[in-house]
């Protein structure tokens, strides 16, 4: 079977939702292009206004980048959220949508969530004000750490090119809270 590969232009259009549907459909239905990740990162690297190397696109706005010996979460605008093993939401801005007016905007019909029971948490980038994530969770639930990637296993075992300065695969969010917030 011939190796499937798409040009950077095709992948760029795909990412941006500009590729014609017939082409998109053929990509969805076809064999996957195994060189996607590197092209994807290259395209995104060209789009962001900063130079740190992208190790992993985390969301459509956030990236894990290599910054010196550290790996930090960085917004496309340039704002940095710190070590990728600490939930980036802890260093974001939070707004809980809990007024009737705010809920009506989203849910104009009977059966809207009840703010006493359900928190609709909106997380914004402190610099650009982008809405990065909306969590809809029971009242009082800890801040959800959506995804902690196992970066070293990914690069070493799956891509076959280990990253420098291996980091322990560990959620450091609670440690961060204990050390930084509880003392303040």
């Amino acid at each position: 079977m011939p190796e499937i590969s798409y040009s950077k232009e095709v992948i760029r259009d795909l990412i941006e939702g500009k590729l014609p549907w017939s082409r998109t459909k053929s990509i969805i239905s076809g064999y996957k292009d195994e060189d996607r990740f590197d092209k994807y990162v290259e395209i995104l690297q060209e789009k962001v206004p900063w130079s740190e190397k992208i190790l992993l696109p985390l969301t459509d706005e956030l990236y894990i980048v290599q910054k010196g010996e550290e790996r930090v979460v960085k917004c496309s605008c340039g704002h940095e959220f710190g070590d990728y093993r600490v939930n980036w939401k802890l260093n974001a801005l939070t707004h809980v949508r809990d007024t009737e007016e705010e809920l009506q905007e989203l849910y104009p019909y009977p059966g809207a969530p009840e703010p006493e029971y359900c928190e609709i948490r909106e997380y914004y980038c402190p610099d650009c004000g982008a809405l990065l994530q909306v969590d809809t969770v029971p009242f009082g639930y800890p801040v959800v750490f959506d995804f902690l990637p196992d970066l070293d296993s990914f690069y070493k075992d799956w891509l076959g090119r280990p990253l420098p300065q291996e980091k322990e695969f560990k959620d450091l969010s609670s440690e961060f809270i204990m050390k930084k917030w509880l003392k303040e």
């Binding site: 992948i11 795909l14 990412i15 939702g17 998109t24 990509i27 969805i28 996957k32 195994e34 996607r36 990740f37 092209k39 990162v41 992993l56 696109p57 985390l58 969301t59 459509d60 802890l90 974001a92 801005l93 939070t94 809980v96 989203l106 849910y107 104009p108 019909y109 009977p110 059966g111 809207a112 969530p113 009840e114 006493e116 029971y117 909106e122 914004y124 402190p126 650009c128 004000g129 982008a130 809405l131 994530q133 909306v134 809809t136 969770v137 029971p138 009242f139 009082g140 800890p142 801040v143 959800v144 959506d146 995804f147 990637p149 196992d150 990914f154 799956w158 609670s174 930084k180 917030w181």
Partner: protein
């Protein structure tokens, strides 16, 4: 002394099925390969022959499914295609599956293994032409309404496999009519049970089986015709299988099916390594049950919210691990979950998101490990629970796997495979009982009209698809005219509800609303559909700034003047909603009842009353809504799916309606200004998460939360092993902290 010769088993090679099952498990544990197949000789020698066999088996399953559709009687089968046909190994491992109700694939395998474990071979007897019927969730199943009809496949006197068909029934003879009675809180009242019972011999249903159905269900003709349809499909598949085995040879067939499973196991691990990124994902989910004021036994009259944390780990070896640690208590209600149902949910998601080549089988599931703590909501310790809405959590929690796996696809660059979530089965419709339009006074039915057409979450590169349902991808909502044959109701309207999507850069699908006129019945008792059990707490389904969409509701208008309006030729109601104004309340007089909880009794309606169901699927959005391409918003405005008010509020897009051209025109300059203003507003109103944490922590310590939430957390803090520590660590709470309940 002369030793008695060991009795020959009915399995392949003269082994008993039990021996085969034990041997299969032992070899897998010892070698890590299905049946120890470290090498794949058939694939190596002649891959085309193996591929041909697979395609022939798949075609047999698909053809069997169509046979059932044509023979069955119920709209659930004919119209919304709620069925599937699957082929299994003698040990109950799936080899190939048809399209359809995919959630049942591993579950029927559990039933087969239960039968083998219970020594059916010796005690019940398993013969060519037998059929075994099962809908007992205490063994394995999704809910009482999903009935499995299973036939063995023999070759040369030896059992070489099984064929199973699943059909959902609309009536199961429970305490209350309809197949999902919300007040049937234990197994003794939740419907007719077939505990893997022999239902046919020599391809003919037993008279005792038919008599039981005649007496124990309220719509026996439908139930029986579905059994006939399933049996016909099983026979058709079995006959086709025999042709295939004759062509390929039985030894080749037996080796090949094992190799197909091992190939799929390896392929799945490889797919994961090539499409995703390893790591840990987390998301919580809840199930809400409100029975305090329901007509159930006094000790079951409890309101409860149960927490189900979902920890998903993609491991470096490509396997998946899902941990339900921290899940709360099971209860006396119809929504409890079982490990086999969770397997069904996982299988259904994987089959449609990553193992999409038509070769998903038991091998796919061998790569998934689950921790389902015993004596919790996901693994109850009582065998006497009711399960007529067991799929509540698999279809509400299952999409978490879809969202989390999507996140991994996104990180890897396969953006075309990324989609936000939706509750896979919205409420709406419901159970109806009483008298029908044909004069039948023992009428009972579950309308699942929009179940297969509820709409999905947004994708990372496009909007969510309207009227699709991932739990049943090739289904639809069925023809109104067919539903009207079964229901004492006439459709007044079936349309998409404006502003019913989850907002985002890409929006979730808009959901459907149906409006019915109750027709030619003096008494029709109504309940809301007991489905996702969402009322106060919405599911966490949005991705990267997208919101969850609205949940379902039902309205009933009784004592109406609809007949007078019809006589006068005046407008009725068709489900039109426009910024708070709707034609039901505007055009028709009557007593209005609105219910937003699932599984609740509404009232008794009669000829001329109106029922309205909004099938809100909480279809979630993807990305920041103020980054939505205005041309996509214009399309929704032009189609009257998006109101200008929400277009401005949610997307910060200004537009004006051009009366002459009959279309909306985007004001790009004002749109850019509004978006800039919104960013500033966000920065002004939001607070640092640290500040929020301190405020919320104070509230938690002071117990400022509803009783049900405290109870929910206390259950999870008591039941869990890992999760309680994480909860207490996050909020910096003492080691044994629990909430003081009122």
């Amino acid at each position: 002394m002369k030793q008695k010769a060991a009795k020959k088993g009915i399995g392949y090679g003269g082994k008993s099925l039990k021996q085969m099952l034990v041997e299969r498990e032992r070899i897998y544990q010892e070698t890590g390969f299905y049946y120890g197949l470290e090498d794949l000789p058939l694939q190596t020698e002649d891959p085309f022959r193996l591929e041909l066999l697979h395609e022939r088996l798949l075609a047999a399953a698909l053809a069997g499914r169509e046979t059932t559709r044509m023979v069955s009687a119920s709209p659930q089968v004919r119209e919304t295609a709620e069925l599937a046909v699957v082929l299994y190994t003698p040990e109950g491992d799936c080899i190939v599956q048809s399209t359809g109700l995919l959630i049942h694939i591993p579950i029927i395998g559990h039933v087969l293994r239960w039968m083998i474990g219970q020594d059916y071979e010796e005690e019940e007897g398993i013969n060519d032409g037998d059929c075994f019927t099962s809908n007992d969730v205490a063994i394995a199943g999704m809910h009482t309404a999903d009935v499995y009809d299973i036939q063995p496949i023999f070759w040369g006197g030896e059992l070489i496999g099984w064929v199973g068909t699943v059909i959902m029934e609309a009536e199961v003879g429970a305490l209350l009519p309809g197949c999902m009675p919300c007040d049937a809180t234990d197994r003794f009242v939740d419907g007719i049970k077939f505990t893997a019972e022999k239902s046919a011999v020599n391809d003919n249903h037993l008279r005792s089986f038919e008599r039981k159905i005649r007496l124990d269900t309220r719509m026996p003709d439908v139930f029986l015709l579905d059994r006939k349809g399933a049996l016909a499909a099983d026979i058709a598949v079995r006959q086709e299988m025999k042709k295939i085995v004759e062509e390929f040879g039985v030894d080749y067939y037996m080796k090949a099916i094992r190799e197909l499973i091992e190939i799929e196991r390896r392929t799945q691990l490889e797919r994961v390594k090539r499409r995703t990124v390893p790591g840990k994902f987390h998301s919580p989910s809840t199930i809400e049950v409100y029975l305090a004021n329901s007509p159930v036994p006094p000790h079951h009259r409890v309101d409860r919210i149960t927490l189900v944390p979902w920890d998903f780990h993609i491991k470096p070896d490509g396997s998946y691990s899902i941990d339900f640690d921290g899940t709360g208590d099971w209860g006396w209600h119809i929504h409890n979950c079982t490990p086999s149902a969770l397997e069904g949910a996982v299988s259904m998601i994987l089959t449609q998101t990553i193992s999409t080549t038509g070769k998903a089988n038991h091998g796919t599931m061998l790569t998934v490990d689950m921790n389902v703590p015993y004596d919790t909501f996901v693994n109850p310790s009582s065998a006497h629970l009711a399960y007529c809405n067991q799929f509540a959590w698999p279809l509400k929690g299952g999409p978490k796997l879809m969202v989390q796996q999507s996140h991994a696809f996104f990180c890897r660059g396969y953006v075309e495979e990324v989609r936000a979530g939706n509750t896979m089965l919205c409420a709406g419709g419901g159970c109806f009982c009483g008298q029908d339009h044909l004069g039948n006074t023992e009428y009972s039915f579950l309308a699942t009209e929009a179940a297969g057409a509820m709409g999905g979450g947004a994708f990372a590169i496009r909007d969510g698809v309207i009227s699709e349902a991932i739990f049943q991808p090739d289904a639809d909502m069925g023809n109104v005219e067919i539903w009207e044959l079964m229901l004492p109701m006439l459709w007044l309207g079936r349309r998409l509800m404006p502003d019913s999507c989850g907002y985002g850069r890409y929006r979730g699908a808009y959901s459907l609303i149906s409006t019915w006129l109750i027709y030619q019945t003096p008494m029709l008792a109504l309940t809301t559909g007991p489905s996702a059990q969402t009322a106060k707490i919405y599911p966490n389904m949005g991705m990267f700034g997208g919101y969850a969409g609205p949940n379902s509701f039902e309205k009933v208008l009784t004592n109406t003047n609809s007949k007078q309006l019809i006589m006068e030729g005046k407008p009725l109601a068709h489900g039109s909603y426009d910024d708070g104004v709707n034609d039901l309340e505007q055009n028709i007089e009557g007593d209005l009842l609105v219910e937003t909880r699932n599984g609740q009794w509404l009232c008794i309606a009669e000829d001329g009353d109106i029922v309205q169901s909004f099938y809100g699927g909480t279809t979630a959005g993807f990305g920041d809504p103020i980054k939505r391409d205005p041309t996509l918003a214009k399309k929704d405005l032009d189609n009257q799916l998006l109101s200008i008010k929400r277009c401005r509020n949610m997307h910060c897009i200004e537009a004006k309606y051009d009366e002459k051209a009959e279309e909306w025109v985007i004001d790009e300059k004002r749109t850019a200004e509004m978006r800039e203003e919104r960013r500033k507003e966000r920065l002004a109103k939001a607070i640092p998460t640290q500040e929020w944490w301190q405020q919320r922590r104070e509230e938690l310590l002071e117990g400022k939360m509803p009783h049900l939430i405290k109870k929910m957390y206390n259950e999870s803090l008591t039941k869990g092993e890992r999760w309680p520590g994480e909860f207490r660590e996050f909020w910096c709470l003492p080691d044994r902290f629990t909430f003081e309940e009122d």
